[in-house]
Amino acid sequence: MFPTYDVIVVGGGHAGCEAAVAAANMGSKVLLATMNMNTIAQMSCNPAMGGVAKGQIVREIDALGGYSGIVTDHTMVQFRMLNKSKGPAMWSPRAQSDRMLFAGKWREMLEAHPNVDFWQEMVNGIVVKDGRVCGVRTGIGLEIESKSVVLTNGTFLNGLIHIGDKNFGGGRAGERAATGITEQLLELGFESGRMKTGTPPRVDGRTLDWDRMETQPGDENPSKFSYTDTPKLNKQIPCHITYTSKEVHETLKTGFERSPLFNGRIRGLGPRYCPSIEDKIDRFSDRDRHQLFVEPEGWNTCEIYVNGFSSSLPEEVQYKALRQVVGFENMKMFRPGYAIEYDFFPPTQLKVNLETRLVKNLFFAGQINGTTGYEEAACQGLMAGINAHLSVNEEEPFVLKRSEAYIGVLIDDLVNKGTKEPYRMFTSRAEYRILLRQDNADLRLTPLAHKLGMQGLDERLQRVEEKQAAAKAIKKFFEETSISPDDVNGFLEEKGTAPLKQKVKMHGVLLRPQINLAELRQAVPTIEQYLSPVEQEYVDLAEINMKYEGYIRKEEEMVAKMNRLESVRLTENFDYQQLVSLSSEAREKLSQLKPRTIGQASRISGVSPADISVLLVHMGR
C-alpha cells in the first residue's frame, strides 16, 4: 500500500508542514501523516505571524526555501513593520492572517508538491530496529516504512485541556489527544516533561463597540515576508486596543479558587512572557490595568481573538470579566479560553541537527522540543526536514551558527541549554542582532540553502547577487560623488545639523545621525536621479550598510572572537570522566551532550567558565 518513504513527518502543524516541504524540496519522498487533513497548518492560538524576533525567523525560513512567508503573504489581512523607530536590526515584520485562508493556502501548496503524500490517521508509535528508526505505526495497526521520521506532535501528546475545574483529554479545542508515542519513547530511554500553554476566548465581533477602543491600523505602505514575488497587500483590517480595569481584575479573582493554575491541578510550566490574565493579576498586583489587543480572525468572519486575555478560569468568570472591559459590554462569546498541558522531550536529548541521540534518523521539531510559537516551530520543522534528508543520504548535517541566523541561535540554545519553560525567541537571545536583520536574511541564508541543493532557489540566488552588487554600487556612488553647500545646506539646517562649508562627499552627509536617505534623496535631485531606477530593497540595504558600518564591523569582530572558540574541535568520543578537575555536573553534561566545539561546550548549562578553562588547559591552550 505504501512505498518506503525517505521521510515520514508526523503532525501537520507549522513544524510538520515546513519539514515536509523542506525534505521534499531537497528531493526526498515524503509522507505527511496527520490526524485530520482539514486542520493542516492550523493557527491554534492567535491569527498572526511574525513580531519582534519572530518576524526575522519567518524571513529566514523564506530565505532558506520554506513556505511560511509565502503563505502569510497570500493570506494576511494586515501588515505592520514593528519597531520602525528603532535601528534596522529591530525592524520586525508582523502580519494578521486570515486563519482559514492560511490553513487553506498551506494545504494547497503541500498538495501541489509531487514529492509529498498524505495519510490521515493518528500515528501512535514509531518502528525502531537496531537503534535506527524505520517507520511508523498507526492507530488502525498499519506499519508504514521509512528511512527517517520527523515527530512534530505539538500539544497533542497526552494533551489535557483545562477550563476552570473541568479538564479533558484533547490536542486542541475540539480535537483528540495523541497517545502512545510518549510511552514508547520513554521505554526507549527518552526523558519527557510536561509543559503548559493557554489561549484566550474567541468572541463575536458583531457585539463589540469598536468606537470605544483605540484603532491600530496596518502600515500605510505595507511590506511583506517573502523575498519571492508574492502579492502586495492593498486592503487591510485594523486591530483594536482596549484595557482591563480594577473591576475586571476583581471579577477574575472570584474564580481564582477554581483556577487549575492556582489550585495545583496544572503541573506543567507555562511561558513567563505569555502569562494568562490571572497570572498577570496575581504576579503584578500593583498594576490596575492590562492591555488587550482585539484581533480579527479573517476577511469573512466576525470571529475575534482577544490577545492578552489568555485564561483557564471557569468560563462564566471569563465571560463576566470580559463584559466589564471597555467596548465589550455587550460581548457574546464563541468559546472560552483554556489551558493545555502536553508532553515534551527536553531538547538536550537532540544533536545539533535535531536528530535524537538515542534513535538514529529520528528527528523532533516544534513544541515537542519545548518551544512555543508558530515561527519557532516552523523553522525547526524546516531544519529537521533538511537534516532528515541529509541523514538518509549520509551527508553532513546542516547547522546554522549563532552568528548566521536566529534559527541557529534557537537550535543551539535548545540542544545545549535545554529549556524549562516554553522557549520563545527574543532578539536579546541573539548575540549578533545587528547582523541578523530581517532585510538581509536572503543574503545570509539563500546561498547556503542553494549550495545544499534545495530546489527552486536558482532565481533567488541571482537576486541575492544582484542585491549585493546594487548596494555596493550605491555605496560607491555616495563615496565618490561630491555635494556642494548650495545643494544641501537648506535641508541640513532644516534637519538641525551644521551646514557644509565646502564640497564634501555625499557619504559624509548621509552618515550624520539626523539624516536619512529617504529625505536626503528628496532634497537632492542628483541623488534621486541616481536612485530612482533602483529597487527600494536594494537602496535600504545600501543605506544600512553605510550608516551602520561601524557597528556592523564591531559585531563582526565579536563573531570572529567567538569563532575562535568554535574552531576548537572536541572529539565525540572524548572521555570527560577522566578529567577529574571538571565539576561533576560538567563531566556528566559534556559526556551526555558531546559538544562538537569548545564554543558549544561553553553554552551548555551546568558547564562553568572554570570548566571551559580546564578543557582549554587540558588541550594545551
Binding site: P271, H290, P513, S581, S602, A610, S613, G620
Partner: protein, 501 residues
Amino acid sequence: MQYSTHDLNDTIVALATPTGIGAIGVIRLSGKDAITICNGVFRGKDLAQQDTHTIHFGTIRDREDRIVDEVLVSLFVGPKSYTGENVVEVSCHGSNYIIQQLIQLFVQEGARMAQPGEFTLRAFLNGRMDLSQAEAVADLIASSSASSHNLAMQQMRGGFSDEIQRLRQQLLDFASLIELELDFSEEDVEFADRTELKTLVKKIQTYIHALIQSFDLGNAIKHGINTVIAGRPNAGKSTLLNALLNEDRAIVSDIAGTTRDTIEEVLNIEGIQFRLIDTAGIREASDQIEAIGVEKTMEKISQSALLIYVFDVIQTQPEQVRQDLAKLVKPDMHLLVIANKMDLNPHTKFEHYFEVGSGKGEVGRRKAERGNHEEVAGSTDSDFPFPTSDFPLAISEAQWIPISALEKMNIGFLKEKLYQSVLTEQVQVDSTIVSNARHFEALKKASESLDDVLHAMDSGITSDFVAMDIRRALAFLGEITGEISTDDLLGNIFGKFCIGK
C-alpha cells in the same frame, strides 16, 4: 605549559619557602597520596587518623631510621585545602641540606617534584580559585613589598572579581531595561527614564575609570615607580638622594658634574617602592663622559613616571628653572619641584620664579599647600605662587617643596608628597587596585564601549545599537572573571516586569 591528566593524578612536592638559609623552611606536598607519603617517613601520630587542619610534632627519619629533622606537620584533607587535594605542609629547620634531604625522601616515597605554578594550577583546576585569583597568586609569590603583597592578597581573596561582578550586575540591570524596550516595545511596559540610565552608565564609568587609573598604581606597587631626580649641576641632587635614603650612596662633592652615571636606589615609603634614579646634571656638557651622562639623563627622564626637579635657590635664576621644566616635563608625568638649599636663604620669595601679575597666577592658588614648610620657610608670608597657564599642565599642577637636603630639613614632608603623588584622587589606598595587564585591557575596552554607549545616547542613535555597546562592555567585564556568555538578560527581565500579551 601542558600537563597531562596522568600528571594531575601524581602527588607533587616542592619547597614552599624561598631557597636559601632561613629559620624554617616549609615543604609542601599535594595530591591524593600526600598524607600516605608523609606518613611513611614521619614518626609521631598516625597522620592518616588525624583531622584536617591540625598540626603535629614529630621526626622524619630516612630509610636507615636516622632522624633527618624534627618537624611540625600541618594537615589539610581535600577538598578543604589550597589545591583542593590532600595537602601536607612540613615545617623543618631552614638549612639547605635538611630541605634537600627531606624532599629526596618524599620523592623516594612516590612524590614528584612540582613544576613551577603547579600547586596553583591544581587549585584552579579543582575550582578553588578563578582565573583572576590564580593570576594573583603568581603576583603574591613574586611580591616584594608590603603593598604589593596586600594587593595580591586582596585579589586572591576574590575582592577584585567580586567588584567586577558587582559592576557587571549593575550593567546587566541596565541592559535588561534596554532589551525589554527592544523586545517588548509592542506591549504595555514601562521603560526607564533615559537620564537615569545615563546617570547609571556614568556612575559605572567612574568606577571603571578608577580601576583603570589604579592600574598605574597597581603596576607601581608591583614593580616600583621609576622616579628621576634631575636638576642643574650642583643643585644638590645626590645630597637629596642620600637624605632620602639616609646613607651616603652617591658620590657627593661640590664639584659640579660629580655624578656621571645614573644611580638606582630603592626607597620604600609606606610599602610603595620608588626606584630613585639620580642623574648627571643637566647643562651643556663640557667633556665626553659627561655628555654621555646627560644623554642618559634625558633618556631616563622620558621613561619615568615621576620627576623630582631640584634647583638651588641661591644659584638658579627663575628664568633657568622655567627653561629646565619646559625641557624636562612630559605629559602624564608627575612632577615635584624641590627648592633646595633653603637653609642658605630662608626668605626666598618664590614669586620671582613665576611670571606673576597677569592675574592667571590666581588660578594656581587654590592648589596652594603649605605643608610643614614653616620650619625652613617660616618667614615666607605668602602662599606658594603657581605658574601661569602657559606652562604645561604637569608644571602648573606641580607641588613646590622647599627643603634643605644637606640639613635634612622638610625631608619627611617630601616623602609624604612622594607617596601622595602616586595616589590619584579616585584611588583610595584601601580600595581595589588593578595590577594585571589582561584585566587592564578588558577594563579599558569596557570603558570604551561605555563611552560609545553615552555617545550613542547623546547623538540620538537608536537603542539597539546602544544595547550592542552595553553587551560589549558586559562581555569585556566578563573576561576578567572568566565568564563567557551573557544571557542572563531575560531572567532579569521576567523577574521584574509584567510582559506578555
